[in-house]
């Protein structure tokens, strides 16, 4: 079977035909997908911020942003420009180095994690064989940054917020990792490409959501907690802690936190789509359909079509999950810190462990359906 469009291969081949050595051709290729991914992630954040404001408004029977651009689509851009031009204040008794390093440590790992998000068989920055593991390990750097920001601010609310953020991230990482582990066990690989490929072939029926209904819910709860979305937004609970670890931040440093939280939300939704909703797969198996109609899978137009459909499908699934998160935000009240830790340690952790064991048992007894 043909693996679809391969931009890197074609690009390197073209440069080689111009007489460039292969090493140089690959070096020329390298920054392109990374740059594209950073731009894509940032634009994705603008879209999510706009969506969040519009959907929130709709859920509360308001109109939301309307005057900045058509339907207010330029509102997040206006917000961003405002934050860029604001004065960058560092409190007098704060630790300037840690204060600056905090937001950087929060944002950089999130952007790095985009390395492993696939939009197609070859439409990925790099196909690491530890793919999903690198996402989990990178996401555990963020609490260090949050703690750093909270501690360096020299403010009791910021410190409390930072401590809460660290406690929350650490306790929800475990059920998250365990539910991912169940998926990994079924697909015998940590690579995101392999995880999607294992779900292909049967359209919507082959997606992991049917084989991992419990893992699916645990993952979404834990991902919401990791992103500090509303039922779990204690670290910045504005009614109690002013704004948590963000209290002393302004201008570009605050913008980094803001950006980081939304990039993280989109990233979690994308990873979720890859793990449970079949990544770039369409609802019906397209390659079988093409075979049935009698179109060879090396036909250029078919390849372009499947590739663009793959990107659209991945984004559509991710944005559906973002929509769900926003809807959840206006539905569920914020939990207390003890309820949060209770839910994490006493409910999600044992359930995800049981889920892992049951998956292992099913894998041994039904190797056909559970990737033996």
């Amino acid at each position: 079977m043909n693996s679809g469009i391969d931009l890197q291969g074609s690009f390197v081949q073209t440069l080689q035909d111009f007489g460039l050595p292969i090493g140089l051709a690959k070096a020329v290729w390298l920054p392109l997908p990374m740059l594209l991914m950073i731009i894509g992630a940032t634009v994705g954040v603008l879209v999510v911020v706009w969506l969040e404001r519009k959907i929130s408004a709709a859920a509360q029977q308001r109109i939301g942003p309307e005057y900045a651009g058509p339907l207010g689509v330029l509102q997040p851009v206006a917000d961003g420009i405002k934050l860029v031009f604001k004065e960058d204040v560092i409190p007098a008794k704060a630790d300037p180095w840690l204060f600056t390093l905090g937001p950087v440590l929060v944002v950089v790992p999130v952007f790095l994690s985009y390395l492993i998000v696939p939009f197609g068989q070859n439409l990925v920055v790099t196909d690491l064989n530890v793919g999903i593991f690198i996402w989990i390990s990178l996401s555990s750097i963020a609490p260090i940054g949050l703690l750093m920001a909270g501690y360096a601010s020299n403010n009791k609310y910021a410190l409390l917020g930072g401590l809460r953020a660290a406690a929350q991230s650490i306790s929800y990482e475990i059920p998250l990792a365990l539910s991912v582990l169940a998926i990994v066990m079924m697909s015998n690989s940590l690579s995101t490409i392999d995880i999607v490929n294992q779900q292909t072939g049967y359209g919507i029926l082959g997606w992991n959501i049917w084989r991992q209904p419990v893992g699916f819910i645990i993952f979404w709860i834990a991902a919401l907690a990791e992103c500090e979305r509303l039922p779990f937004d204690l670290p910045e609970a504005e009614e109690e802690l002013v704004a948590g670890y963000q209290t002393e931040y302004a201008g570009m440093k605050f913008a980094l936190f803001y950006l980081g939280s939304y990039v993280n939300l989109v990233l979690s939704a994308l990873v979720f789509a890859v793990l449970y909703l079949g990544g770039w797969e369409f609802f019906i198996p397209l390659d079988r359909l093409a075979e049935w109609i009698g179109v060879a899978d090396t036909t250029p137009w078919l390849q372009v079509l499947t590739a663009s459909l793959g990107i659209i499908m991945t984004l559509a699934k991710a944005y559906f999950l973002v929509f769900l998160a926003i809807l959840l935000r206006w539905t569920v009240p914020r939990v207390r810190i003890d309820q949060l830790l209770d839910l994490g340690w006493k409910f999600l952790l044992p359930v995800s462990l049981a889920n892992l064991l049951i998956t292992a048992a099913l894998k041994l007894s039904f190797p056909v359906a559970f990737g033996g």
Binding site: A58, A59, R62, I63, L327, W330, T331, V332
Partner: protein
């Protein structure tokens, strides 16, 4: 052995219930998304204040007899009535009258008790200014009539909730000439007038 099974069952049931309630909540939020926004986009759209609205106070200088009842009924003795006794005419002569709307709470006591009806409530509520001393209205400023929302060509006026037809909760897209639920004051008056001759006839007969 059975006790722990029962505990597991109860726990599972509780979790299922919690999930069910969250699902119900989500459906409510989702349902709200399809409803029309009730936003009145303020500078371009405004609500018509009701006839009993207690806005900025209007004052007619010529009607005032300087009796100072408004000062006595005011919770903080706010109106300033500057008069002197005209010995020739043997009457009070009013020089100045002012109310500071930065301090006024718009309770309407002065309007209620004014013996000559020289004080009245208007529907004006946009009193913002850059200096609080500008809120101290003298008799000239108090004598100005507010601009009506319905006459402003820049503004789309909307009716308030109580003035909408039965079953309508939102003023946008209301057909022109739509009446509120129940009888209008004119209609009630008409009915009373119509019933009068009958009553009189009944008395006589």
């Amino acid at each position: 052995m059975f006790k722990i099974l029962k505990q597991v069952q109860d726990y599972a049931q509780e979790s299922w219930q919690a999930a069910k309630y969250i699902g119900q909540g989500l459906s409510v939020t989702f349902d709200h998304m399809q409803r029309r926004p009730i936003t009145v986009q303020y500078p371009y759209e405004k609500l018509v204040p009701s006839e009993r609205y207690r806005g900025r106070i209007h004052y007619e200088f010529d009607k005032c007899i300087s009796c100072e009842v408004c000062v006595r009924v005011c919770p903080i003795n706010l109106p300033v009535v500057d008069w002197e006794f005209d010995k020739v005419a043997k009457k009070k002569k009013l020089n100045h009258y002012s109310i500071d709307f930065g301090v006024c709470i718009f309770c309407g006591n002065c309007v209620e008790y004014c013996p000559t009806n020289c004080l009245s409530m208007t529907e004006e509520y946009e009193l913002a200014s850059y200096d609080r001393h500008e809120l101290n209205y003298d008799s000239v400023a108090l004598g100005r009539l507010p601009y009506k929302v319905t006459q402003d060509p820049m503004v789309t006026p909307f009716k308030e909730f109580a003035y909408l037809p039965k079953g309508v909760v939102e003023p946008h897209g209301l057909p022109k000439g739509a009446q509120r639920a129940g009888k209008r004051p004119e209609q009630i008056l008409e009915e009373i007038e119509a019933a009068k001759p009958k009553e009189e006839a009944a008395k006589e007969g």
